[in-house]
């Protein structure tokens, strides 16, 4: 199987500081790759570069073989890349259902004029999106909350809502930034299953997660970052035994104790 997402030598500097330096790996169809590392290792920055939120200072991102380095997020979305956020980016004033429908934007949007006039074409598109969104909400267990204002939901539910929204794009590559954060054990397990299910349907998944048990359980491949650089990669078993990884994690623990 060929790599859907591959990155080479990716790097970026903020104010002279190398936030991410020379990181490269690839994710294949149906594969779950996790990026782990201590706080401030550059995981979210890496996500932001891949998804076009930041312009990489160096390196290359390609999607199904096409060079998409620094491409706008909406264009990446058109090419099948979708993501969630560590710090939630929910459309607060919309209902839960509308948030999910927003994920259908690319498939439901048509002419503005049709939307203004409320033409049947526009309504039909909106209806299809609505039905799809409802099904997705059911899949993440939010169907009961569909009509509630999203701003009123608890953290874990919002995390799941973001996943639903990201899935609504019907992505080829899915970037999940700490999907299980703030979820209890039961919810985490549900998310586990969901991710595995999505991967099984052929989606390439890139995951950032702090819950090591979850990472070890579901990842096919793990990339370890520290201070913006890749210090190790391999299957879960290899990585967990890697001395550099252990040192990096212990080192940060010590830093935490100091600070």
């Amino acid at each position: 199987m060929s790599a859907l997402l591959s990155i080479e030598g990716l790097g970026i500097t903020f104010g002279g500081l190398k936030a991410v330096h020379d990181v490269g790996f690839s994710v294949r169809e149906g594969e779950i790759v996790s990026v782990i590392g201590p706080n401030g290792a550059g995981k979210t920055t890496l996500f932001n570069m891949i998804s076009g939120v930041y312009q990489p200072g160096a390196g290359r991102v390609s999607l199904s073989g096409e060079d998409v380095t620094g491409m706008r997020p909406d264009l990446l979305a058109r090419r099948g890349l979708s993501r969630t956020f560590q710090n939630l980016q929910i459309f607060q004033s919309m209902t839960v259902l509308e948030n999910a429908i927003a994920g259908y934007h690319l498939r439901e949007s048509g002419s503005v004029l049709a939307d203004l006039l409320g033409l049947p074409a526009s309504r039909r598109r909106a209806l299809t999106a609505r039905e799809g969104a409802r099904a997705l909400l059911a899949r993440v267990g939010l169907d009961r909350a569909a009509e509630r204002e999203a701003g009123n939901l608890c953290y874990g539910a919002l995390k799941r809502l973001e996943i639903a929204r990201a899935l609504a794009l019907n992505p080829k590559v899915l970037l999940l930034d700490e999907p299980a954060a703030g979820c209890n054990a039961v919810e985490t397990e549900e998310i586990d299953h969901l991710i595995a299910e999505v991967a099984a349907s052929g989606v390439a998944i890139l995951l950032v997660e702090h819950d090591m048990k979850m990472v070890m359980r579901i990842s096919n491949h793990i990339v370890v970052l520290d201070h913006g650089e890749k210090i190790a990669e391999g299957d879960p078993a290899t990585v967990s035994r890697d001395p550099a990884v252990i040192a990096a994690y212990l080192g940060t623990e010590a830093d935490h104790a100091d600070g």
Partner: protein, 318 residues
Amino acid sequence: MKLTPKQATLLVLAALIALTPFFFPSGYYYRVGALIFVNGLAVTGIVILTGYAGQVSLGHAGFAGIGAYACALAPVHLGLHPALAAVLGAILSGCMAWLVGRPILRLKGYYLAVATLGFGILVSMVLNNERWLTRGPDGIDVPDLGLRGLLKGWGLDLSNGEFWYFFSGLCLLVGAWLALNLYDSPTGRALRALHGSEIAARVVGVDVARAKLQAFVISAVYASFSGSLLALQNKFVTPDVAGFMHSIEMVTMAVLGGVGSVLGAIFGAGILTLLPQALTVFAEYEQLLLGLVMMLVMIFLREGLLPSILRKIRGTGE
């Protein structure tokens, strides 16, 4: 029967337009009503731009100016019917918004505010300075729309005030209907999404620049038609229609009433149009009170007057 919010809004509006004249003690109230509707139309555009898409413009009077002067100039210079002139004005405003909006809408918050403000001032400057075309600050006559005469021919004899009341009311209804259609449509959702989180909107595939531009153009067209209606009704227009104060007035009306909903914004237009009329008794204190109302509402009723009032009513009802 259960009404959708859209139907309820339109029904309330239609009922208000149709029924309030029964309470009018004199013809002057038709004039005030017509003004409310004209302002309401402009403010509905602001709802799309600010309420849906979260973008601030302090220069929308510029588009009202284009719409108004199109009605004054196109019939004379191009021989167009005034109604077609209004359409021409709307097209012109839309194109102008498209051109200006592309660079401007990259800006955020206050920077966007100052850029739109600059645009509005430029339009009003051109209207003031190009005397050969616009006749300058003293204003210019606008030809008659002719529809009233036509209606008379069909046996519907309305006074000038009545005609403009109902005609503007009808225009407002159409404008509100379009805006409400938009709200729950894919485009409307994209606008509201980028309002909620620009970055998330991008990630779900919304071309943010394009969506903002759409909102800007649509709201410009609203402002333009509002300007045209005003000019046609007054049969006279001055560059004040494009002035900074008019821009501020539009935004204030919308935000004061509740920029999140069409009905709220129109309610704001009503309040701010009525306020100076009601305050004539205290002419000396008018400015003072107006400023006070603006501050108090924004501080204590952040969502705007109508949503707060409705909440009160619901609260006591339950």
